[in-house]
């Protein structure tokens, strides 16, 4: 009976490829609990002297592939004309305090789930070289994936806090167990900053809970309640702190350099790609969509934080003596853009921000992955030694250049429509912030040009160790990230089958992302001049 409920044929006719293959009332729970169950099962299976290491990697890979399949189904069955939550699951959990196991996705969260699927596959591919303690590594990686998915689809604040906090533990253990020389410092910084952010989120949630009479943690109740501006402001400040520690935003970015440069590559990709994007997602879901007065009051400060983050990241990257550090700084730039769009509080900028969560996650993951792989292949991280590598590393050269273009948001990259929408929307409401962010973008371009020129196209350094280009395995994960960025950049409405108007992925990522944005952005729509005059 349970299994029949989990996997039942869709009664609706298949309008597009993928729809009608499979449907389930528990489709979102599957994306959370299947990785958890597989992780526990993997951990329980004996693996004497690493005999089944390859099998463990394959299990992790195929679990992620299965998740992508489930997401593909959900993506195809997603109704773009509905601004409401879809695939909802609701069960009472702690009824005495008003907690429900409530999951659901709207446009932005469906987009983030697609991002999570891509990043999940990529992180496993990037972890293929792990040879020590393979079983716990992949178990923890799957637990991380499950926690991130849970935080994305949560529609109850308790569930959100649970998964938001749960992300910390497997990531900390992964960095601590498989990280580089400075892994201890990286871990404790991560736990400190993310723990502080989680505490801020709990305070925000509890303040909203108390202000609404302590009835429910359901987002439908907490986020739709009418709160006084003062309470909204307190909640808003706590939410900004929570988001700033996770994304990260200046000045709460202290963990980023060490974690991005010391964590194993697969973990770095997950952190840069999805786990950190949860910060922006939180601001979108809990501040912009709910606390309108606080969003208006805090928007100049948030815009300032965004501009400072971008400028700081660019300057710090310019001054970095280590390529991974430089990439870690540059990976902060997309977060700054996303938050700036949210601070603009115009429908088009909010839509750009929602898309920017997706594109920024991919761009940040690509830049840190490219830098990580390049430094491994070049056998050094020192910017003094890394020089003129383009002729000897053609694949990595392309990838690094693509990553740089994605960070800058040039046309044909997925980040272009996102950044364009953010700027178009932001100059209406935050012109000063817009100029500041544009100046930061110029600084970022300078930093990227300097780094790329020095590392790839400078004079070759004959004292540097021998280098080699990316292997086939490395090309796979870098290719998936770069390909995803180009996919949305080239076909924002979804790629089409050759010779037809039928999209392969109907209804297209941008349409998916836009579903729900109307609802979120409606309080920020300014009346037309004619209507205002009347």
């Amino acid at each position: 009976m349970i299994f029949a409920g989990i996997a039942a044929a869709s009664p609706s006719p298949a309008a597009v490829p993928g729809a009608g293959i499979f449907t389930s009332p528990l489709i979102l729970s599957l994306t959370i609990w299947v990785p958890v169950i597989v992780a526990i099962a993997m951990h329980a299976v004996p693996n004497p002297r690493g005999r089944y290491d390859t099998l463990m990697k394959q299990i992790a890979f195929f679990t992620n592939l299965g998740l992508v399949f489930v997401l593909f189904i959900a993506y195809n069955q997603f109704q773009t004309y509905l601004p409401t939550m879809q695939f909802e699951e609701k069960l009472p959990w702690l009824p005495s305090i008003g907690v429900t196991y409530h999951l659901g996705v709207d446009g932005p969260s469906m987009t983030m789930m697609v991002l999570s699927g891509i990043i999940g596959i990529t992180s496993v591919l990037a972890s293929w070289g792990v040879r020590e303690r393979v079983r716990p590594y992949f178990s923890l990686l799957l637990l991380t994936q499950a926690a991130v998915n849970g935080a994305i689809v949560a529609h109850d604040m308790f569930v959100l806090v649970l998964f938001w906090g749960a992300v910390i533990i497997p990531i900390a253990l992964l960095v601590l167990g498989w990280g580089g020389a400075r892994r201890e410092a990286a871990t404790w910084r991560l736990v400190g900053y993310w723990g502080f952010g989680t505490a801020a989120l709990v305070v925000a949630v509890m303040a909203a809970y108390a202000a609404t009479g302590g009835r429910s943690f359901d987002m439908d109740v907490l986020l739709k309640a009418t709160l006084t501006p003062r309470v909204q402001l307190a909640i808003g400040v706590a939410l900004v702190i929570a988001a700033a520690t996770r994304l990260p935003l200046f000045p709460l970015h202290g963990w980023a350099r060490d974690v991005y440069s010391e964590a194993p590559l697969g973990v770095t990709i997950v952190v840069a790609g999805t786990a950190s994007r949860l910060g922006a997602y939180l601001l979108l879901r809990a501040l912009v969509a709910a606390d309108h007065d606080a969003a208006h009051l805090l928007s100049p400060f948030i815009a300032a934080l965004a501009a400072l983050t971008i400028a700081y990241a660019a300057v710090a990257a310019l001054r970095s003596p280590d390529l991974r550090w430089a990439a870690a700084r540059l990976a902060m730039v997309p977060g700054g853009f996303t938050v700036f769009g949210l601070a603009a509080l115009t429908p088009i900028a909010i839509a750009g921000s929602a898309l920017s969560i997706f594109t920024g996650g991919l761009a940040a993951a690509l830049i840190v992955a490219a830098a990580w792989t390049l430094t491994e292949r070049a056998q050094t991280r020192s910017m003094q030694l890394l020089s003129g590598l383009a002729p000897r590393m053609p694949i990595l050269t392309w990838v690094l250049v693509l990553a740089a273009l994605a960070l800058l948001g040039v046309p044909l990259m997925a980040s272009f429509p996102a950044e364009a929408m953010i700027f178009f929307g932001a100059f209406q409401s935050q012109p000063v912030g817009g100029f500041a962010v544009a100046a930061g973008l110029a600084l970022t371009a300078v930093a990227l040009a300097a780094v790329v020129h020095r590392v790839l196209f400078g004079q070759p350094n004959h004292d540097a160790p021998a280098v080699s280009d990316a292997s086939l395995g490395e090309t796979w994960y870098l290719g998936v990230l770069a390909g995803a960025l180009l996919w949305v950049g080239l076909f924002p409405g979804g790629p089409k089958l050759p010779g037809t108007d039928q999209p392969i992925f109907d209804p297209g990522l941008v349409n998916i992302m836009a579903a729900g944005i109307t609802d979120i952005a409606s309080p920020y729509v300014k009346p037309a001049p004619a209507a205002a005059a009347q």
């Binding site: 005495s96 305090i97 716990p136």
Partner: protein, 467 residues
Amino acid sequence: MSNLIFVPEGLVVAGAVVLVLMARVWRRPRWWLPTAVAALALIALLFELWVGATLASFFGGAYVQDRFALFAKSAVLLAAALAIAVTDWSDEEAPTIGMAMILLAAFGVMVVASAGDFVGLWAGLEIAGATAVVIISSRRTDLGLRLLVMGGVASGLVLIGLAFVYATVGSADLPAVRRDMGFEGATLPLAIAVFVLVGGLAVRAGIPPFQFARVPISLGASPLGAGVVIGLVAAAALTVAVKIAGALTPLPAVFAPYLMVIAAVAMVGGGAAALATRSPRVRLAYLAAGQVGWVAAGLATHYRSGLGASLFLLGAFALAATTGPALMAGADVGEFALAGMGVLRPARAAGIALVFLSLAGAPPLAGFFGEFAVAAAVAQGGNFWLLLLGLLGAVMSLAAAIGTVRAIYLQSPPDESRRGAGARLPVLTRLSTLGAVALCVAIAGYGVFANPIISLADQGAEALGLR
């Protein structure tokens, strides 16, 4: 049916008496004895769940069976059964006496849970405390003496506090105290009496800054002894605190401020000390102290939701704090004692990891659910400063727990030649493996299937007269 209500208590006491007699006959226990005693505790638990739902009152209201008693007794019996199952009995000086004492400690908590007046509360607390002294003395007489002195001080304070409350209110019956509180004002004598009483309970629970006996005992006692002190005795003190808080609810001004201060110090102090120490057993003791602070914070709210949340967390606490030291067995020195445990003893290692994370309040385990429920009650009461301090302590506790989990899973086992007395690997038995697996299921399932548990805890709070 009401005649069967005493069966769980009867089974536990009879089991303890038989064990004490057996200890006179057998110097070393038979191999099947731990299994039999754990089974006895489980049978008592099943009886409690079966007949405990019957509401009844005996001895003129001195013994009450209500939802509160059902919840507290079930939690403590489960904790005792699992502790007996996971204990490495080869590492205990007097195993048969140890088994008897843990049953008696559980009996002490059961007496407190069913107490309808001050006498029952005090008697139950003393039974639990006395058993701890016996177990600790079997390995270290000096520590037993220290615990005896500390227990005497705590007992004296509790007794004086109860006597003063009795003198002020004119009744030792808990429902009567609660009723009369509605007519009493918050007078200075009453406030002093409650201050002394709460201080005594804090000393008995060994929370910071009253950990004079708790930490040395955590280091020097046998694993089971440490579990009884850190878990069951603290649970007894907390159960008394819950009952007292329920009775004094009409006058929150006389107890809530003390509890808030105690909670704040315990939450922050416990987290900070857990982060600072390297010994797994001491770390566990401090993590447990931090969670005791959360329970106190829930009581300080003086609402039904707060007391219900505290009771819910108390169940999770009793389970983790009692079984934790027993699971770690001889690992009472540095972190290296647990290094590689994940490879060598996987079930036990998973249990230790979950115990540490649950006591730290890490999601999605039992402790997290309990602490979140308390946090919700604290926020509803408007005490955001207390919530902030609690969260600060929780972050430090989480960092400390991650350090221990790292040692278990990510560090290689030390050479056998380096294993001293403080890093001895526990003996692997079927019972201990089964117990560790059951503990993991209980700690993970406590939160996942929290609905019936927290409903029972909420009914328990209601049974104390709170609406």
